[in-house]
């Protein structure tokens, strides 16, 4: 079945350094939909960005990700971490158009001064 792997459970960064959170997926479907959700402390998860186009960069609020079907990856990046980026980040996959969403285990990002 469909699955999502986020290899890092916890990432700690110094403010100003680049962010890269890994996400890889498995699906039998050829046109998957990939999402990043972010959850700040004491808040609900909310959509950060999404993509279903191969090799096209998607950007929102300073973050960007590119869906690479060849490597089944959808890594989240930002050029310079801010303290306010500290949050829990979930990668999610919908393999088929009417399929359900599958979430990864999440990566806790902590940005320190």
């Amino acid at each position: 079945g469909d699955s999502v792997t986020q290899t890092e459970g916890l990432v700690t960064l110094t403010e100003g350094l680049p962010v890269m959170l890994n996400c890889t997926y498995q699906t039998i479907y050829s046109n998957p939909f990939l999402f990043w959700y972010v959850q700040h402390l004491n808040e609900s998860p909310r959509l950060l960005l999404k993509s279903f186009t191969d090799n096209k960069r998607t950007e929102h609020q300073g973050f960007h990700a590119t869906l690479h079907k060849s490597s089944s990856s959808f890594h989240l990046q930002k050029s310079s971490a801010q303290l306010s980026d500290s949050a829990l980040y979930y990668c999610a996959l919908r393999g088929s158009a009417l399929g359900r969403l599958h979430f990864g285990a999440g990566t806790q990002l902590i940005v320190i001064p």
Binding site: F33, K50, G106
Partner: protein, 113 residues
Amino acid sequence: GGIITQTPKFLIGQEGQKLTLKCQQNFNHDTMYWYRQDSGKGLRLIYYSITENDLQKGDLSEGYDASREKKSSFSLTVTSAQKNEMAVFLCASSIRGSAETLYFGSGTRLTVL
């Protein structure tokens, strides 16, 4: 904009007790979901409902029942609370479709004594 309201915010139960969590949305969304959030395990789908009168099991449905009373409401029942169980239950809704965004409620935090 709309809102998803989950009640109660905090729920304390006894071992073996049957407990019900409620969720209401005013987005007029077709699809509603119940997720369980545990640290390090991501968001695990318990039940979802694609449209009114529909009910689908997720990965974690054992020990739970759900009911889609009408389009705007979706309830989750813990059939027999487990001692020392602690988790956050998140309700979400979305328009039916491949790239739809999930909108989450603020959660119900369950503690079983």
